[in-house]
């Protein structure tokens, strides 16, 4: 990993995600700090990244590195944690039943991923699918269900849905720009995750110790 990537690109990308993830455009634009639960989810995601090898903290912080490099590494880890938390906060609906369901879903997903111990590629693929699906559900489906504009049939369906769910499904109406900004934040976050310093294959006496992913393929990595 180049010093520029570690000292400039990764922290700036992570902080940008932390900024954009909290931005809600409305009458007045406001910035939402991540909730405590989002911080917990962020920490779990950091654990998943480390366990899968998508993030190798010893390549950012270790005794063998100079002090300045360690400071840069620490900043990357801190900014990454904020970005993780803010990404979950951005993808969780603002209120009602969907907020609870999304929160529980994210928690179970993180715990399940920790238990399954997937490799780096699978974790990144899984996160892409999960965050993409959460984005579609939150910013496309729920927004459409909560949008007061529309034809008579749509409003009748909304009233019926409100009645069935006791008003627990609809969300505060968001400015369309919020969805675009969150989309950019998520894409940036996924790019950042794939750019993190990954765990290198360990070598010992000229032999390569196989990682779980490589064992599945029953061949030495190239």
């Amino acid at each position: 990993m180049t010093p520029a990537r570690e000292a400039v690109y990764l922290p700036v990308m992570a902080l940008t995600v932390a900024l954009l993830g909290g931005l809600r455009i409305g009458g007045p634009a406001v910035l939402h700090a991540p909730s405590l639960f989002a911080l917990v989810l962020g920490l779990l995601l950091m654990g998943v990244l480390i366990q899968s090898g998508a993030l190798a903290p010893d390549r950012l912080l270790s005794e063998s590195r100079p002090a300045l490099a360690n400071v840069n590494g620490f900043v990357v880890l801190l900014a990454l944690f904020l970005a993780c938390a803010q990404t979950f906060a951005a993808l969780t609906p603002d209120s009602g039943l969907p907020r609870i369901l999304f929160s529980v879903y994210f928690l179970i997903l993180m715990l399940n991923t920790l238990a399954a111990r997937p490799d780096r590629v699978r974790v990144l693929q899984s996160l892409t699918v999960t965050f993409g699906a959460a984005f579609v559900l939150n910013f496309v489906v729920l927004d459409a269900l909560s949008d007061p504009e529309g034809g008579r049939l749509k409003r009748v369906l909304q009233v019926l849905l409100e009645g069935i769910t006791l008003g627990a499904l609809s969300q505060p109406v968001r400015h369309p720009a919020t969805g675009y900004i969150t989309f950019v934040a998520i894409v940036l976050f996924l790019i950042m995750l794939s750019s993190l310093p990954r765990r290198l294959p360990r070598t010992s006496r000229g032999l390569i110790v196989l990682q779980p992913a490589d064992q599945n393929h029953r061949q030495l990595p190239h």
Partner: protein, 166 residues
């Protein structure tokens, strides 16, 4: 050597960016004007538009409060000047004041403005030497606005109709 330069520069950029984000979260500016105003105020480069402030005061003294606030907003787009915010709060007070009732919505906006003014003033102390006003300090104005939004037994006092607007 080059690596050290890159690392130190990166650290400086990251810290500056983090401070900016922290400031945005703490201050919650709602417009670009507030962002630029806040940043220039932090660097000591913020200036109120004196002409617009004079216009606002002229409207204010003629009881044209909406016009006055439009001019004050032009004078202080970043909401960084305590005096201008004081006059904005005062305009909400005077416009919302009624002999029989107060406009709660205007009073609430007045409280927001006076709180901004107090937060901006050094030591939170604002004293305005303007003979056309009957309230000269931010603390008095804050109490006046706050008491206007409260509901209590004094609201039923028939002698209230004899009180005067300050």
């Amino acid at each position: 050597m080059r690596e050290t330069v890159v690392r130190v520069s990166g650290l400086a950029i990251t810290l500056a960016y983090a401070v900016l984000i922290g400031w945005l979260y703490a201050r919650q500016p709602t417009t670009i004007a507030e962002v630029t105003g806040g940043l220039s105020a932090a660097m000591g480069a913020y200036r109120v538009d004196q002409q617009a402030l004079e216009d606002g005061l002229r409207f204010f003294r003629r009881d044209q409060f909406s016009e006055a606030r439009a001019a004050f907003a032009r004078a202080d787009p970043g909401q960084q000047d305590a005096l201008t915010q004081f006059y904005i709060a005062y305009s909400y007070y005077r416009q919302g004041w009624g002999r029989l009732y107060q406009d709660d919505e205007l009073y609430r906006k007045g409280i927001e403005a006076i709180d901004r003014a107090i937060a901006l003033a050094p030591g939170g102390r604002i004293v305005v030497d303007d003979p056309t006003l009957r309230i000269h300090t931010a603390d008095e104005l804050r109490v006046e606005l706050d008491s206007g939004t409260r509901r209590d037994a004094s609201d039923l006092n028939p002698l209230r109709i004899f009180r005067e607007r300050k």
